[in-house]
Symmetry: C2
Subunit: 149 residues, 2 copies
């Protein structure tokens, strides 16, 4: 149900990411610009994309960066989206599972993502897959993500 995208899938990945931003009112440079950036980035493995469904109705976008603490890559799930009409059929869970497997295959010992406090469905799914927003073994304090745009 899920597969890794190649540079040839840039337009499909771009279409899903654009729909994601559009649905949540986030800024997007448009499908054409996203595809133009994704094509070389996917080819050079600067970003990794996974697609779910046939035709694809869900996408996960990951980046990897080095860690001097572990000597192995840190995987970051940048975006995960499933089209509204295809929700509730397990595509999001399948994309998250594939993302975790892919990170492990690439030797990553840390897997990260950000989410909103109010996105309870995503948080339940992420927590069911072993992700924590507290330090291991603790129930508080929470870990916060800060950003300056």
């Amino acid at each position: 149900v899920t597969r890794a995208a190649t540079a040839a899938d840039a337009a499909v990945v771009a279409g899903l990411l654009h729909a994601f931003a559009d649905e949540f009112g986030d800024p997007t440079p448009g499908e054409g610009m996203l595809a133009a950036r994704l094509r070389p980035a996917l080819a050079r493995d600067e970003v990794v994309a996974l697609l779910a469904g046939d035709p694809p109705a869900g996408v996960a976008l990951l980046t990897f960066r080095p860690s001097v603490w572990t000597g192995s890559p840190v995987a970051l799930l940048e975006d995960l989206y499933v089209e509204p009409a295809e929700r509730g059929r397990g595509l999001g869970r399948a994309l998250l599972r594939h993302s975790l497997d892919l990170a492990r295959e690439r030797g990553a010992t840390t897997f990260e993502l950000y989410t909103g406090e109010g996105d309870t469905a995503a948080r339940r799914r992420d927590e069911a897959h072993g992700l924590l927003n507290v330090e291991p073994g603790e129930s508080e304090p929470l870990l916060y993500y800060y950003r300056r745009l």
Copy 2:
């Protein structure tokens, strides 16, 4: 008061990062291993380190990754530490300011960091520098950082 570290500073950066982990009970591979990883990573610009004080008593570690959304790098402040004896003299603020300036110079339009809910001194400092853990223009919900080790 702050300066960019080069590969020749790997041992100094490693010593400060090791002290950081040690003070907070976080796992560390030791100064020697950190230095061995930092030397090539700093030389290849895979990580960027800033030092504060003379002799150095504070360190900031940053990574940059591409974003298909903006077409420009995302800067992530991975670690920021000042030795206990040198706290309260502005080294942390100077390191954060230098980190923000460096990110801007490199064309980054997004600057990120994670912090613990309970680290109120760091959160006050970060918020004073324009970092938010909510969506722009909103006061809630909070943005959470999730991790699986």
